[in-house]
Amino acid sequence: MTPEVTVLASIGLPLGATALIAAFHRQPNLRESVTLATALGLFLLNLSLLGPVLEGQRPGVLVVETLPGLSIAFEVEPLGMLFALVASGLWMVNSLYSIGYMRANREHHQTRYYVCFAVALASTMGVAFAGNLLTLFVFYEALTLSTYPLVTHRGSPAAVRAGRTYLGVLLGTSIGLLLFAILWTWGLAGTLNFAPGGILADTASDPVLGVLLFVYMFGIGKAALMPVHRWLPAAMIAPTPVSALLHAVAVVKAGVFTAVKVIVYVFGADLLSNLQGSSWLIYVAGASVILASLVALRADNLKRRLAYSTVSQLAFIVMAAAVLVPLSLIGAVLHIAAHALGKITLFFAAGSIYTASHKTEVSQLAGIGRRMPWTMAAFTVGALSMVGIPLTAGFVSKWYMLLGAIEAQQLVAIAVIILSTLLNAAYFLPIVYTAFFDAPQSAGEQGVQTGHGEAPLPVVAALTLTALGTVALFFVPELPLALAQQMVGAAP
């Protein structure tokens, strides 16, 4: 298979799998085998692209010319390669986890769930491999729409309300701002193709480009820059595997991925660093980091705390990208992978706790580490990675970001990195402490089981795998590092 065909197959495979998943809706084992096999196949397809991309090839396919000069086209570049690898790799693990979680919790509509999941992954691949802004936008919207049924999976009035917020914010920002920014770019540059070094140089005055950057950054609602972050905590009403893969990896990373792509391939780092007043993005993202951390500090619901932690970490990536020196860009790219591994582990742990004990609040977790040692050990690894402590992946990316911020002499960014490390420690480490060292609650609360053990095996296996991955990325960060350096090298 040529790399070009592989690119199309990466999008076609999960889409095609939906038909099989739907066909086998009466045979759950067969249905889940299809999902697992598709995830594995997708990961292998992406792996086969890795070699050519590392050698400097940029496999591209033009699918159809929608409007004159505007087409649906794909081109694989290092950043998209990394994103696709992370998303498809974690989809495998997440499918394993889904099987344990959905069955143990006796969730309804499981066929719809797996179908939407596959469509969401196909959309994610489309975002990752998009060769121009139009294609990116198409799949960005497809991702929003395909995840809507997953967010409202429960069907309760609360889920419907959350779905409204989800769709309202994401479609509102994307149609109202992002599409406008794309149209504007089209008007200015006459092209929407991603190009190393950007396409907007010498097209408009500095203030105009500054406004355009503003429209882009808030138009990419999936990057959850405050104040367009509201959809993310709302999405937590979804089953935990959805929160884990989509709202810690695929959807939110599609957001920061788009933001980084716009910064690197539409504006170009050179153009932005010479742009008067583009440093507001550092301040806005920095403020988002700190504010979201403060909200997370006060949240008692575990998934809500994790959601705000995600908001904070996403802003972190945007801030690092906005610093614009190569080192910080590398840090931003690494953090896409590092945060994905760490956060999916944390969500897996939260879902595992819910499955075994139906506990959802942080305050209920005293002593749970003794009953669920694997889960809480993995949680600890994830938490340490969020804080950025050595031996976890989070340290590597933070290190690069810090070096970049020092090189660029961005005092605000440095301060935000240090402060957020402290805040992360403040809201994650108490959970670890209380889970392992506090005495278990004596009286069982209503609906909460006390005599439980670990969650089902697939769940535990999945979260152990991602925790190991988080540690492994610390010791062997070569692959994401190589891809990040290629991206930066292409856009010096």
């Binding site: 309202g168 479609l171 149609i175 406008f180 149209l183 504007w184």
Partner: protein
């Protein structure tokens, strides 16, 4: 097929009384269906001829223009013919079950007579090159559509038809007064002659008054805000098949008449520079997009909601026209075509619901997606196109409209276009939530899926929506050439 222009009108006109003679419901339907497909075939032939040879001129009864009536079809007309004939033909297979359900047995023959007459009138307006003939065809289509609307199964159909009759007659009278004044000043009714003789006398009060009368009269016909008051009731209480047919064609033909008068007869310089009609239209169009969309959000009846949405979409089209640039008019014409596809599909889907449920209120359709999945999937697909999600026709036309506004340097209009799309999200999603996420009532659980004869036309239109959303080269090319034909004819 030398006589195709005459046949285009003569065929349905001659068939209409035959239909009345047949009387028998099934036979009348079969005959009318055959005729409507024949009309489509002639339209396709004509369009191919216009493509190959350019503007087609035909002297009716061999009486040459100033004396006789000239039929004249340019690219803009060809586009309209295609829309009207295609929708007219697609609605017919659908109509049988729907009409038998909604009408009394003995009035079905009459129904198809009026349907064919309405088709005659609409086609005639497009092919004719004579202003008085245009008025006659306008009256034929209007009078027959009053009858069609009054056939709805609610008693309020009668008042709706009466309301439309009053407003429509005022509009027709205004147009007639305008045409009379033009005849007074130029001594001709032929459009080509008029466009040559008018420049000499434009600087008179009579011509200005004629312009005003025609503009207001046609605006009533095409339901431009705030002259749209007849439309919501008419669309709501008409039989389902009629709602779809009229929503997709009647107002569109009104827009075509407006284009003819502004660009071919009066000319761009008079209409837009001397009379400043663009400044008036742009305000009314913007109001339509905002106010009608907002009103649509608060409707409980889906047909009424779609009716208000139509008023808003007419706003989009008029907005494009008000720019008076090739890009703007082209975008307007493209949306005219696309909206015909979108609205026809949506009204047909709603008609399927009405057939089974007997109601189209949002509170009554709760949970209906479980029982009528194909119908509701069509509604969702049409709704997404209405919103303007990428890969649908709605996206293509909104892209062109916003691009045309930006090209003209009027970015607030682009913002408005996108903002109004967000209101479409709100009203479409109310239906989606009710159909998919609410528990079904007993009455809904007893339903069956709509018959294939109704689903196939609906899905054909949806397929057209998707196809022309992915590959828009044909539609956008048609629209651009149509706009060039109009602006070229009006230029010096």
């Amino acid at each position: 097929m030398l006589h195709a222009p005459a046949l285009q009108v003569a065929l349905p006109l001659a068939a209409a009384p035959l239909c009345l003679l047949i009387r028998h419901a099934r036979f009348a339907w079969a005959f009318a269906t055959l005729v409507s497909w024949g009309v489509l075939a002639i339209a396709v032939l004509l369009v191919r001829r216009v493509f190959a040879e350019g503007t087609v001129s035909y002297a009716l009864g061999d009486w040459v223009a100033p004396l006789g009536i000239e039929y004249r079809i340019d690219m803009a007309g060809a586009l309209m013919l295609l829309v009207i004939a295609a929708i007219g033909a697609l609605v017919m297979p659908y109509a049988r079950a729907s009409v038998e359900h909604e009408l009394r047995e003995d009035s079905i023959g009459l129904f198809y007579t009026c349907y064919l007459l309405c088709l005659t009138g609409l086609l005639g307006i497009v092919v004719t090159g004579d202003t008085f003939n245009l008025f006659v065809f306008l009256e034929i289509s209007s009078l027959s559509s009053y009858v069609l609307i009054s056939q709805g199964c609610s008693r309020r159909s009668l008042t709706a038809a009466y309301q439309y009759l009053v407003m429509g007659t005022i509009g027709a009278t205004f147009i007639l007064i305008g045409i009379g004044l033009l005849y007074m000043m130029t001594g001709t009714l032929n459009m080509a002659d008029l466009s040559q003789r008018l420049p000499a006398v434009t600087d008179t009060r009579t011509i200005r008054v004629a312009f005003a009368f025609v503009t207001v009269g046609v605006s009533l016909k095409l339901a431009l805000f705030p002259l749209h008051l007849w439309l919501p009731n008419a669309y709501t209480f008409a039989p389902s098949a009629v709602s779809a047919f009229i929503a997709a064609t009647a107002t569109k033909v009104g827009i075509y008449v407006l284009l003819r008068f502004f660009f071919t007869l009066f000319g761009v310089s008079f209409s837009f520079e001397a009379m400043h009609v663009g400044d008036i239209l742009v305000v009314l169009a913007a109001m339509a997009m905002l106010v009608a969309s907002l009103v649509a959000v608060f409707q409980d009846n889906i047909k009424r909601m779609l009716a208000y949405s139509s008023v808003a979409q007419i706003g989009y089209i008029v907005l494009g026209i008000s720019l008076a640039t090739t890009a703007g008019v082209g975008a307007g014409m493209l949306h005219l075509l696309n909206h015909a596809l979108i609205k026809a599909a949506l009204f047909l889907a709603v008609g399927c619901i009405f057939l089974r449920l007997g109601s189209v209120k949002i509170q009554d359709i709760r949970g209906i997606a479980k029982r009528m999945p194909l119908t509701m999937a069509a509604f969702v697909a049409g709704g997404l196109s209405l919103i303007g999600v990428p890969l649908t026709t709605g996206f293509v036309s909104k892209w062109y409209l916003a691009d045309a506004a930006l090209m003209d340097g009027r970015w607030p209009l682009a913002v408005l276009i996108l903002f109004s799309s967000l209101l479409a999200v709100a009203y479409v999603w109310r239906v989606v939530e009710a159909a998919y996420l609410q528990p079904a009532a007993e009455r809904v659980l007893a339903l069956k899926e709509a018959p294939a004869a109704m689903l196939v036309p609906t899905w054909l239109l949806i397929a057209a929506n998707l196809y022309f959303g992915i590959d828009a080269s044909l539609t956008s090319g048609l629209a651009r050439r149509g706009a060039e034909a109009l602006l070229g004819a009006g230029g010096p």
